[in-house]
Symmetry: C2
Subunit: 340 residues, 2 copies
DNA sequence: ATTAGCACTCGCGATATGTGAGTGCTAACC
DNA sequence: GGTTAGCACTCACATATCGCGAGTGCTAAT
């Protein structure tokens, strides 16, 4: 069953994938001959198709229809047949330009990445902000807002700001807070949530309150499996014939509404370097049944975020891979520049 | 044409709206008699229906179908016929509880509002973070991150944090930055972007760089018509029969993907106090054709955010209004507590 | 190994038909 | 005058039927 494919069988599979990705219509032997391989007879192509079908690379929805690549067929295509795509110089310029335009606004470029990926690939995109396994304090600030309350701001190891309200029983003075901030920053830099919670260097009630508030914030960040998530391009997905039926459309929309999905996808992508392609049963999330995911991590050190394109298995893999590859590189560079 | 409706005609309109909202099926005279008004004959109801139809409150899709409320009919219903709904004590408790659970995480409760509104009304929800017409500096912070770059953090009048990267030609020392921060906070508190840009109190290159960076950030906030926007419940909308067709589904999905929509809706809601109901042609955004919007502002002073429920005109208006009413109150209280 | 020939399959769109919920109208009724 | 029974009429919707044609699988010839 699983014996080697001949040259021509591989070519036929490649053609079937290319044609089906482009048209979403089952590909018949006639179409192949007409468009791709003049000089061979349809019957010959049909014979190869039978081989491909019995090996599980293609199938037909019913007897008198053309062939459709199976998940296994797409996997084989991506691994052995596809010639790697490359973004045009113009596109690369545009990407770099867009990212550098908003270079200074840390919050926005993750959202830009999602929009960009969606537009360039014609599919939906998921992007998560970088996350560390364990939050470490990088810098603390306290701002008095009302008489007895202050805003506690923590810059954590992953380079993101987090905030929490601190309410105290006594009136607060900004100078007092500044002093505490200075001491805490000197002493607690690089510490994790538990270490801060157990730290016994707090001398006053207020210091203890700040310590507890900070520890609580960091524990929340640790616990919270939901870093900030961006997505884009759901409407592009709904335009694909795969999601023409109402159930499918609702299913995918619901899937995109739960932020946990993006987080789980990101967790998988963060494990290894490089672009990862998941097709069919390789996509382990049941809500994404029938979808393919192309993604990669970005960032550095142990601070990784993830970018991904989600679409039907009938997808321009070459383009998706090239886009993910390039955007993740640009973001990694930018990230290095931004937070050392 | 526009003469007063009789008691019974009003009752019939109310029944048509109630039944159509519940079932989404055109309402016939038989159904009305069977379910709501035993003792009257279908012919009588039909006569009233003719009156309602010629006054423009109802119509039928074709001759031999039941009646459907028109936009005008819904408007009349909301203004004259509907008995105001009220959330149950349990629901109120739940809302307050959920908001207080995350009370201290300023970033999350706007998102919670969206999810909550969507779930409680069965429609999509839009929520914008509070926004001021003109950004005013409340507090500044600078954190050295790399040798020549620092993170500039500004707490602005609307109570939200904004950040921007500051890159300098000379190495930066945190103590130096702290001094600048102290001076800037004393001098520039309450100032707007232009005032800061024109401020000539900066003495060193670094101070000038900080001033320019801060002014740039605040101008960006001013310029940027896009405050942070949350949405939820799109999948609930797609489950409604109004969006069963592919075009409708794509149209509404695309509408929700552009953040400008939420901003424009919010701008309209911020103008007046109280719950606002927009139906049919009262909804001025073409992408929301055929939709109704129930929304209100929240916050205080000149710092308003907006919450809104977006659904088909066939909507449980009583419930939507009660929910918006209550949630906006809770959020306004919370807001007052959080940022004075 | 390749190809021409051919009978066969079956989804799809077009057409026809029956059904029934619901209407509008008229005339009788209270 | 408002209300109601009676009745012919309308029209979307569901179901059944049918022809078309793209595409297959098999066989036998090259």
């Amino acid at each position: 069953m699983d014996r080697e494919l001949t040259e021509r069988q591989q070519a036929v599979l490649r053609m079937i994938v290319a044609e089906y990705v482009a048209t979403a219509v089952p590909v018949g032997s006639g179409t192949i001959v007409r468009k791709y391989a003049p000089g061979v007879s349809p019957a010959t192509v049909r014979n190869d198709m039978v081989t491909l079908a019995s090996a599980g690379y293609v199938y037909h929805p019913h007897t008198s229809a053309g062939r459709i690549p199976s998940d296994k067929g797409y996997q084989y295509y991506v691994r052995h047949l596809m010639q790697p795509g490359e973004l045009s110089a113009d596109e690369k310029r545009m990407i770099v330009h867009l990212f550098h335009q908003i270079e200074r606004d840390l919050g926005q470029w993750v959202q830009l990445a999602a929009t960009l990926l969606a537009q360039m690939t014609g599919n939906a995109a998921l992007v998560t902000a970088p996350r560390v396994a364990r939050a470490e304090l990088q810098h603390l600030e306290l701002i008095a807002t009302q008489e007895r309350s202050a805003l506690l701001i923590a810059l954590l190891g992953e380079g993101m700001l987090h905030q929490q309200l601190l309410v105290h029983s006594e009136p607060l003075r900004q100078e007092e807070l500044d002093q505490i901030v200075r001491r805490f920053n000197q002493t607690l830099r690089g510490r994790a949530a538990e270490e801060i919670a157990e730290w016994d260097g707090a001398r006053t009630d207020l210091e203890r309150a700040v310590r507890d508030c900070l520890a609580e914030l960091m524990m929340r960040v640790d616990r919270q499996a939901v870093p900030r998530v961006w997505q884009a391009g759901l409407s592009l997905l709904l335009a694909q014939p795969e999601f023409a039926s109402r159930e499918k459309a609702q299913e995918i929309t619901r899937a995109f509404e739960q932020p946990t999905l993006a987080v789980e996808v990101a967790d998988a992508l963060i494990e290894y370097p490089g672009v990862r392609v998941m097709i069919g049963d390789e996509v382990r999330w049941s809500v994404l049944r029938g979808c393919a995911v192309v993604g990669a991590r970005y960032g550095a050190d142990r601070r990784w975020g993830a970018i991904a394109v989600v679409g039907p298995t009938r997808m321009r893999y070459d383009r998706a891979i090239a886009t993910i590859q390039y955007v993740s590189e640009v973001m990694t560079d930018l990230w290095a520049k931004l937070c050392g």
